[in-house]
Each structure stands twice: as structure tokens, then as C-alpha cells.
Point group: C2
Chain length 87, copies 2
């Protein structure tokens, strides 16, 4: 029996890879007076509703999606942030 | 005494707000054969290195940054995902 799960995953540039978006955000924060900010890394946070047999299955499906489409394996790392039942 | 903290925050479109990027991702996943995917919401995941007096202070600073610059208060919700010491 399958049921809907809500899986959150984040995808961030690998450490050491140039991150122009993060740099732009850090510069903007400095200009606004947030002097305590050092490096900023900007990635994506995706929340997917997935029909699956179990939480593990939902997590495995999203891992496969990240490998196949959502994350760039050369420049990005991804991690499943949470798996819950949808509603 | 201040020390460096690493704060992760995610910013996602508010539920009910049109999310064309999420829709495009869902369509691409369907085309790749991931039929179990329903709605997808696409947001940003930011990791900030912040110098602060405590973890609470670091979290409060990042909340102020989200209010002032990082999140759009009309269309987006944000949440601090984690606060840790940097290295």
C-alpha cells in the first residue's frame, strides 16, 4: 500500500567550488550593515510530494531523482533534510 | 566573546503561491519516468558563516537578514534549519 510522503532535500554547491550567488548575497549583507557575515553558500531547497510504500522508499526515490536530474554530480552535494507523511 | 557559527536557512514559496520552477521540475521528473511525484516546491537553501556571541544570537542575526534581504515577506516563508559552530 502506497501513501503520500513529503520529502525535503537540499542541494548546495560543493565546498571549494566558486559560488557567485553566495558571494553576491554576502556582499549585499555587508552593504546592509551585517558585518559579522563571512562566507555564504547558496543552494536549492526542494520539497517534493512523492507516493511511496514507506518513508525509506520515498527517500530512495528522491535520492534517485537527485542523481538523475536535480543535482549536478560534479559541482553539487545533496542531502535529504526530512521525510514526513504529506498532510 | 564571539565565535563563528554556521547557520543554514531555507526559504520556500508560500503554499498557494504559483511556483513555476517547482512545476517545471515536477514536469521534468514525470518525463523521466518518476510517476509518483506530485507537487514540487522549489526554494533556496543558504548556509551562512556568522560571527556571533551565541547560537541564539547567530540565529537571531540570520532571522534579521531574512526579514531585511533574503526572503520576500509577501511570497516566501523561511525557517532556520540548523545552527552549528563553524569548524
Amino acid at each position: 500500500m502506497t501513501q503520500p510522503y513529503r520529502v525535503a532535500v537540499y542541494i548546495v554547491p560543493r565546498r571549494g567550488i566558486l559560488d557567485p550567488q553566495g558571494k553576491a548575497i554576502a556582499d549585499a549583507l555587508h552593504a546592509l550593515g551585517f558585518g559579522g557575515v563571512g562566507e555564504v553558500h547558496a543552494g536549492r531547497h526542494l520539497v517534493l510530494d512523492v507516493t511511496a510504500a514507506s518513508a525509506d522508499d520515498a527517500s530512495a526515490q528522491v535520492t534517485a531523482m537527485c542523481r538523475k536530474l536535480l543535482a549536478n554530480p560534479v559541482t553539487e552535494d545533496f542531502e535529504i533534510a526530512s521525510v514526513g507523511t504529506a498532510r
